[in-house]
C-alpha cells in the first residue's frame, strides 16, 4: 500500500513536473475536464480514507507480529486461551459500517453530478462509433465525419461548451477512455451509451480503447485535439468541404476508384462511399493513420496500403497487392486529400 501510494505520488509528480505543453502521460491525476476533475477529488478522498485504514490495521498487525512472537527458552506454557469478546466484535463491525455510509454518500453525489448532468444548448454533439480497430466520429449537426482524431472546442467554465458523445459500436464491445478528460464508457453494439467532456484547456489528449475488442485492441488508439472555438470552427469548415479534385493525380484516383478501396472507404464528392473503414475525404488533415498506430507520412501510407500487417498485424485492412507504379500514384492521390 505504501509502495502504491508512493508510486502514485511519484506518478503525479512526474506529470506536474512536465512542461506546460501537453504531457504525453495520460494520467488520471492530471485531469483537464469536469468529469475527470470531480472523479479525482472523490478518488483523493477515498485514497485518504483507505490509506488511513491501512495505517491503523497494518500498525496493529505489525505490533502483534513483533510483540507476541514466542521467545526462545520460554517455558512451554500455552498462553491464556481467549475465545472472543462481544464488545470488541461490535466495535469493529460498527466502525466499518459508518465508513461505508460516508463513502457511499460521497460516491452517490459524484455519480449524480456526472451521469445526470443536463446537456446545455451550446453543447457539441458527436456520435462515436467503435469499429475493429478504429474510431468513427460523426458530428450530426455540423455535417462532419472523421476518424480516430476527435476535435472538440475548449469549454470556458463561464460559457460552457461541453461535448456530448453518443457511443455506438459497429461490431464488438469497445471502451472510450481519455483519462485526463473522463472515465471510461463502453461502446456496445445494440446499445446507446453517452458520455461528456468539457476540457478546460487546449491541447492534445491521448487515450485508447479500454475494452478488449479483438486482435488489434492494443492499437486502437485515440487522440483528442482540444482547440479554441475559432480554431475548432475553422477545422469544421475545412472538414465540411468535399475532397479536393486535383486533376494532376487522376491516375491515382483511378486506382482508388477501380480497386477494393471504395468498398470500405468514403471520399466526399466522389463515388467512393464505403463505410467499413475510415472516411478519407480529409485524410491528410490527420496526424496519424491506422488509428494512431503510425504517423501519417508518405512512407507509412505506402507501407500501410501494401502491407498493413507490418504496422498493425491482424487489422482488417487488406494488403492491396498493387504494382509499384499504381501504389505510387495512389499515395500521391491520397496526399491531395487535405
Amino acid at each position: 500500500m505504501l509502495v502504491i501510494l508512493a508510486g502514485i505520488l511519484l506518478a503525479a509528480g512526474l506529470c506536474i513536473a512536465g512542461p506546460q505543453a501537453t504531457n504525453p502521460v495520460p494520467s488520471i491525476f492530471e485531469p483537464h475536464s469536469t468529469p475527470a476533475d470531480s472523479i479525482l477529488d472523490l478518488s483523493n478522498f477515498v485514497l485518504g480514507i483507505t490509506g488511513l485504514i491501512f495505517l491503523v490495521v497494518a500498525t496493529l498487525l505489525t505490533y502483534a507480529v513483533v510483540k507476541f512472537r514466542s521467545k526462545a527458552g520460554e517455558a512451554q506454557r500455552e498462553p491464556a486461551q481467549v475465545y472472543g469478546s462481544t464488545q470488541i466484535e461490535l466495535a469493529w463491525t460498527v466502525i466499518p459500517i459508518l465508513i461505508v455510509v460516508v463513502l457511499f454518500l460521497a460516491t452517490a453525489r459524484v455519480l449524480h453530478a456526472i451521469q445526470d448532468a443536463p446537456k446545455p444548448a451550446a453543447a457539441v454533439e458527436v456520435t462515436a462509433i467503435g469499429h475493429q480497430f478504429w474510431w468513427e466520429f460523426r458530428y450530426p449537426h455540423l455535417g462532419v465525419v472523421t476518424a480516430n482524431e476527435l476535435h472538440i472546442p475548449v469549454s470556458d467554465p463561464a460559457h460552457p461548451t461541453p461535448t456530448f458523445l453518443k457511443l455506438l459500436s459497429a461490431d464488438t464491445d469497445h471502451s472510450f477512455w481519455v483519462p485526463q478528460l473522463a472515465g471510461k464508457t463502453d461502446l456496445i453494439p445494440n446499445r446507446i451509451n453517452e458520455t461528456w467532456v468539457d476540457p478546460h484547456r487546449t491541447g492534445l489528449f491521448l487515450g485508447q480503447c479500454a475494452q478488449y475488442c479483438g486482435t488489434q485492441h492494443a492499437k486502437m488508439l485515440l487522440r483528442v485535439s482540444v482547440e479554441t472555438p475559432e480554431a475548432f470552427q475553422a477545422w469544421v469548415n475545412a472538414q465540411k468541404q468535399p475532397a479536393i479534385q486535383d486533376e494532376k493525380e487522376a491516375a491515382g484516383r483511378r486506382v482508388f476508384e477501380n480497386t477494393a478501396c471504395v468498398n470500405c472507404h468514403a471520399v466526399g464528392g466522389t463515388n467512393a462511399t464505403g463505410r467499413f473503414g475510415p472516411d478519407l475525404t480529409h485524410l491528410m488533415s490527420r496526424a496519424t493513420i491506422a488509428a494512431g498506430a503510425a504517423e501519417n507520412t508518405k512512407e507509412n501510407l505506402r507501407l500501410w496500403i501494401q502491407k498493413p500487417d507490418a504496422i498493425k498485424p491482424g487489422s482488417l485492412m487488406p494488403a492491396m497487392q498493387l504494382t509499384d507504379a499504381d501504389l505510387d500514384a495512389l499515395v500521391r492521390y491520397l496526399e491531395t486529400l487535405k
Binding site: P24, A64, P79, V82, A182, G183, K184, P189
Partner: protein, 557 residues
C-alpha cells in the same frame, strides 16, 4: 512430478507392479487419493498458467516488443485466466476440501465416493479439452487455435462472425464440463458435512475449515448454474441459430455480462473463502490460541456468501448503467467489505496475546493478512463507481485482482501446503527451502503487483499486446516483468521442496504442529478409511481437550 514419484514409491513399498498402482489411482474413489489427484492436477496447470504469464510479461518488457504476435498474446491471456481460475484455483481448493473435510469431521469418506471420482474426472476432462484446442481449435475454417476471447468471453466477440473455427467452442465446453464437476463436488461436500459428522460434532463445533467449505459449496451450487446456462445459450447461439447474445440479430451483449459476472464475482469468494478457512486453522495453531470470535467468524462467512451475490455489476460500471444502478452496486460492494474486514480483525484478535511461532505456514499467513488487507482496500476504491470508471479495464484492476488471487489465495494455498503436507506425505517440508521460497515469492510478488497498479493510473489498459513508448509505462513494465521471473524461481523452489521432502524430509509423526483438530489424531499419512473407531468430540478443539484434560474447551463452550 511428484505424482510419478509417489506412484513409483508406493509401488516399491507394496511390491505391486506400477501399472497396477496406476490403475488403483485412476479408479480410486478414496477421498484422500482424489484430494491428492486434484492438488497434483492443479499444480501441473499452475506451472502451465505460469508459463503463459511469463510469455505475456516478456512481450510487455518494453514498448513495441515483438516476442509474440498479437494473436498469440491474446490466446495467452485467455488461457492464463481460464486456466488459473478453473483449473488451478478451483481444483486445488477442492483437493484440500476433499482431503481434509472428512478427516476433520471424523468421517471415513465423503458421502458419495463415486460422485467424488466422477467430479474429479469431469474437471480433468475440462482441462484437457481446453488445451486440446491448441490442436483442434482451427476447425474447418482455419480461424485461431486456442481461445482468444478473454477469460470472460464477452459477447459478441464469441459470435461466429468474430470467432470462427472451434476455439470458442473448446473454451465453452471446457468451462461447462468443469462446472458440472464443481457442482458434483459441492453437492458431495454439503451432503458429507450435513450427514457424516462424528458423535458430538454439532454444527457449532465444526472446525471453521468445515464451516467455510460448507458456505463455499452452497455458493458453488447457486452461481455455477447461471454460468452453465450462459455457456449453453452461447452454444445455441453459435450452432442452433439462437440470438441471446448475437447483437447482429438483436441479441444483447450486456445480458452475457450479467450472466458471467453473477457467476464471476461470487467466484472470487468461492476461491477466497476456503483460503479464509486455511487462515482460520493455521493462525490459531501458530499463535497457540483458539480462533477469536468463532460464532462471528461463521456469521461473517455466511453474510459474505449472501452479500457477494448482489455485487456482480461492479464489474460493469462502465457499460452505461443508470446512476441508480451504479449507486446500488457501489453500496453492496462496499458492504461486502464489512464482514471481510471483521475476519481480518478476528485473525488479528487470535494473534493478540498469543505466542506466535514463525514456521513457514505462519509466514505465508502473515503475508496473506497484509496483502489481503491491501487487496481489500483497492477493492473499496474500485467499488467507488466514478473512481472505477478510471480504474476498470486498466492495469490497476489487473494488479488489484492479482493481489487477491496471488497475494491472498495463492499465499494461503502455500500456507496450507506447508501445514498439511506432513499429514498427507508423512514427512515435513524442508524449512530452509520453505523460507527461501517464502522470501523469494514475497519479493517477486511485491515487485510485480505493487508496481503494476501505477501504469493503470497512468492510462495503460489491460489486454494490450504492446504499448506506445513515452507514456510513463516503460520502466514500470520492465520491473513488473523482472518480478514475474523472481516469482517463477520461487515456484520452482517450492516444487523442488515438494519432491525433495517426499524422499528426504524429516518424519512428521501424527501431530507435528501440536494442533487441535481431528486430522492430527490419526497417523501420517492417515490409514484407509481414516478412523478405526469413530471419534467422539465434546468441543471445537478435540485434541486440546485430550492434551489438557485439566482445562478442556468443553467447559467454556
Amino acid at each position: 512430478m511428484s505424482s510419478d514419484a509417489m506412484v513409483i514409491r508406493a509401488a516399491e513399498a507394496s511390491g505391486k507392479p506400477w501399472v497396477e498402482t496406476l490403475h488403483e489411482w485412476v479408479t480410486t474413489v478414496d477421498h484422500k487419493r482424489l484430494g491428492i489427484l486434484y492438488i497434483l492436477y492443479a499444480l501441473v496447470f499452475l506451472v502451465i498458467g505460469g508459463i503463459e504469464a511469463t510469455i505475456m510479461r516478456i512481450q510487455l518488457m518494453w514498448p513495441h516488443n515483438d516476442f509474440v504476435s498479437p494473436q498469440v498474446f491474446n490466446r495467452m491471456f485467455t488461457m492464463h485466466g481460464t486456466t488459473m481460475i478453473f483449473f488451478v484455483a478451483m481444483p486445488v481448493l477442492f483437493g484440500f476440501a476433499n482431503y481434509l473435510v472428512p478427516l476433520m469431521i471424523g468421517a471415513r469418506d465423503m458421502a458419495f465416493p463415486r460422485l467424488n471420482a466422477f467430479s474429479f474426472w469431469l474437471t480433468a476432462l475440462g482441462g484437457f479439452l481446453l488445451y486440446f484446442s491448441f490442436v483442434g481449435g482451427s476447425g474447418l475454417y482455419g480461424g485461431g487455435n486456442a481461445p482468444d476471447v478473454g477469460w470472460w468471453a464477452y459477447a459478441p466477440l464469441t459470435a461466429r462472425a468474430f470467432s470462427p473455427g472451434h476455439s470458442s467452442d473448446y473454451w465453452t465446453i471446457a468451462v461447462l464440463v468443469s462446472g458440472f464437476g464443481s457442482i458434483g463436488t459441492a453437492i458431495n461436500l454439503i451432503a458429507t458435512i450435513f450427514s457424516m459428522r462424528c458423535p458430538g460434532m454439532k454444527l457449532s463445533r465444526m472446525p471453521l475449515m468445515v464451516w467455510l467449505n460448507l458456505v463455499m459449496s452452497g455458493m458453488v451450487l447457486i452461481v455455477i448454474t447461471p454460468l452453465s446456462a450462459a455457456q449453453i445459450m452461447l452454444l445455441v447461439d453459435r450452432y442452433l441459430g439462437g440470438h441471446f447474445f448475437d447483437t447482429q440479430a438483436g441479441g444483447s451483449a450486456a445480458i452475457w455480462m450479467h450472466f458471467f459476472w453473477i457467476f464471476g464475482h461470487p467466484e472470487v469468494y468461492i476461491l477466497v473463502i476456503p483460503c479464509f478457512a486455511f487462515m482460520s486453522e493455521i493462525i490459531p495453531v501458530f499463535s497457540r490460541k483458539p480462533i477469536f470470535g468463532y460464532p462471528v467468524m461463521v456469521g461473517a462467512t455466511v453474510c459474505i456468501g449472501f452479500v457477494s451475490m448482489s455485487v456482480w455489476a461492479h464489474h460493469m460500471f462502465s457499460i452505461g448503467m443508470s446512476s441508480y444502478s451504479n449507486a446500488f452496486f457501489t453500496l453492496t460492494s462496499m458492504v461486502v467489505g464489512v464482514p471481510t474486514g471483521i475476519k481480518i480483525f478476528n485473525w488479528l484478535g487470535t494473534m493478540w496475546g498469543g505466542k506466535l511461532i514463525f514456521k513457514t505456514p505462519m509466514l505465508f499467513c502473515i503475508a496473506f493478512l497484509f496483502q489481503f488487507l491491501i487487496a481489500g482496500l483497492t477493492g473499496i476504491m474500485l467499488a467507488v463507481s466514478p473512481f472505477d470508471w478510471q480504474l476498470t479495464g486498466s492495469y490497476f484492476v489487473v494488479a488489484h485482482f492479482h493481489y487477491v488471487i496471488v497475494g491472498g489465495i495463492l499465499f494461503a494455498v502455500f500456507a496450507a501446503f506447508y501445514y498439511w503436507y506432513p499429514k498427507v506425505s508423512g514427512r515435513m517440508l524442508n524449512e530452509s527451502l520453505g523460507k527461501l521460497h517464502f522470501w523469494l515469492f514475497v519479493i517477486g510478488f511485491h515487485l510485480t503487483f505493487d508496481l503494476m497498479h501505477i501504469p493503470g493510473i497512468l492510462g495503460m489498459p489491460r489486454r494490450i499486446y504492446t504499448y506506445e513508448p513515452g507514456r510513463g509505462w516503460d520502466t514500470l513494465n520492465l520491473l513488473v516483468t523482472i518480478g514475474a521471473f523472481v516469482q517463477g524461481i520461487a515456484v520452482l523452489v517450492f516444487v523442488w521442496n515438494l519432491v525433495f521432502s517426499y524422499f528426504k524430509g524429516l518424519r512428521a509423526g501424527n501431530d507435528p504442529w501440536d494442533a487441535w483438530t481431528l486430522e492430527w489424531s490419526v497417523s501420517s499419512p492417515p490409514p484407509e478409511y481414516n478412523f478405526a473407531t469413530i471419534p467422539t468430540v465434546a468441543s471445537r478443539r478435540p485434541l486440546w481437550d485430550r492434551k489438557h484434560p485439566e482445562d478442556p474447551d468443553s467447559r467454556y463452550e
